[in-house]
């Protein structure tokens, strides 16, 4: 019962924050609503017993990505942009595409819900060891090579962003 109420609260956070992120004129407001949406997602992770991802979501997404976006919004002068037209000339094409994608998603989901009967799964021996321990076990044994490749990707991203933001390329 408490789970149900919490789910709807977090879902309202996620969807309301998302809609306002997309529609606000001022980029700072958009970034702040994005924080609300990401907080809702973090709550959903907590609801699904993914405690490690909850922490990662808050520290990395809200503390890292949104802060970076806010820095850039402050760095780049967006006051003139906020006064201009905010949406494309071809916005109706985009909305039509989104409607088609939505119809497809709804068709697939409604079929799947009937045949698969997605139900509550029993928590798999969650009491034996915590979520973080199980994640670490799998990450550092089975996914060791992808983990190292991800660190290489991060290095490339650091170097790339520094080079991009330099005065003289």
């Amino acid at each position: 019962m408490a789970d149900t109420i919490l789910f709807y609260i977090f879902a309202a956070f996620v969807l309301g924050g998302g809609v306002l992120t997309v529609t606000r004129r001022n980029s700072v407001h958009s970034a702040l609503w994005l924080i609300v949406s990401l907080l809702g997602t973090a709550g959903l992770f907590l609801l699904q017993q993914a405690e490690f991802l909850f922490a990662v979501q808050i520290v990395l997404y809200i503390g890292g990505v949104v802060l970076l976006i806010l820095f850039v919004v402050m760095l780049v002068n967006l006051d003139e942009t906020a006064r201009l037209r905010q949406f494309n000339k071809a916005w109706w094409v985009a909305l039509a595409c989104a409607a088609v994608v939505g119809a497809e998603l709804w068709y697939v989901l409604s079929r799947g819900l009937e045949t698969l009967e997605l139900a509550e799964a029993p928590p798999a021996n969650a009491a034996v060891e915590g979520n973080t321990e199980r994640l670490a076990d799998v990450l550092f044994s089975e996914y060791l090579l992808p983990f190292e490749i991800a660190s290489l990707l991060l290095l490339v991203a650091i170097v790339g962003s520094v080079v991009m933001a330099k005065k003289r390329i």
Partner: protein, 103 residues
């Protein structure tokens, strides 16, 4: 009245968030907001991965979500670097005013 939450609730929510993000990417002109919409899309994917991870009682989905978050952070850093370089050269952050390659 209130049904207990199933995995289906999470899947429908994630589909809705994906649609909102897609509309943002396709209709907005401001590149900062487009980047934020991409974050929304990746969040929808993460919700899906975590939902199936719990549905099957398997942590592999959450590992994938960690990798998605890593790639999203890298993508944002590079994207914002490009945005700053673009603003320095063209004095604009509107996606449809950058049409040097268009004829």
């Amino acid at each position: 009245m209130l049904h207990p939450i199933t995995s289906a609730h999470f899947l429908v929510l994630s589909a809705a968030l994906l649609l909102i993000g897609t509309i943002g990417v396709l209709t907005r002109r401001n590149m900062v907001v487009i980047l934020m919409s991409i974050e929304l899309i990746l969040n929808a994917v993460n919700i899906n991965l975590v939902t199936f991870s719990r549905h099957f009682g398997d942590v592999h989905g959450q590992i994938f979500a960690i990798f998605v978050i890593t790639v999203a952070a890298a993508e944002t850093a590079v994207g914002l670097g490009i945005l700053i370089a673009l603003f320095r050269n063209r004095e604009t952050v509107l996606a449809d005013e950058v049409d040097l390659l268009k004829w």
